[in-house]
Symmetry: C2
Subunit: 117 residues, 2 copies
Amino acid sequence: MSKQPPPADCCVAPLACAPLTEDEAAELAPLLKAVADPVRLRLLSLIACHDGGEACVCDLTAAFDLTAPTISHHLKTLRRAGLIDSERRGTWVYYRLNPGVLERLSAVLAPRAATTR
Amino acid sequence: MSKQPPPADCCVAPLACAPLTEDEAAELAPLLKAVADPVRLRLLSLIACHDGGEACVCDLTAAFDLTAPTISHHLKTLRRAGLIDSERRGTWVYYRLNPGVLERLSAVLAPRAATTR
DNA sequence: CTTCTGGATAGATGGATGTCAAATTAGAGG
DNA sequence: CCTCTAATTTGACATCCATCTATCCAGAAG
């Protein structure tokens, strides 16, 4: 924990600004890996686009030709990466996007400092 | 090829705009997968930051504690994903970023239509 | 308490992936 | 032609990962 990342409020150090350190790369890669799957991409999109910004697992499962455990596994992967959060309300569990994480990834991949402009 | 993607000039259909179709997700995932590796992230960054926007393989290999074949393998992965291009000049091979692809990924992950804000 | 349903976990399996050592190709220069 | 160096390819190996079936946990409602 000695080396803390850049402030993160301004330039999130896009890839093309300065060479990524080994630590930065090691921190970013798992995030991107969580996103780098067609099912999880669609899950993120479905959650983000759903009414109220949240979606029930049953809604999500219905959108795929996959078994419920598989969807549950992907949701867990996204949650452990910090991309989504879950909340149980009665019988159902709702997922919503954790804002900021996706934006950070977007900023890192942007050709230049992209948060503004 | 019946369903063509959105114009791509304006809104590149970020994830949160409309639910990603199965085809869109299937096309984006391999791109992200190519980026979702700490070594490849640093390779991209090193190439992007290098003088003239290009870097020789020997320069890249020197930046890692990995063997030359391993770096070559990662470069091939990036090249097949369309993220970089290579050019041989004499004995050396130079890699440069293929602009646009990274921008597209960045735009897709952006919270909203981010190209034009 | 019992039962039903939504969702998660456990375990198994086939396929993808990162890494290396060894062999191969491509120029450059005797 | 021979040799040296830069880079890639090949083949092997260990690990990871997406998916499934079977099982388990948590509320809700009888």
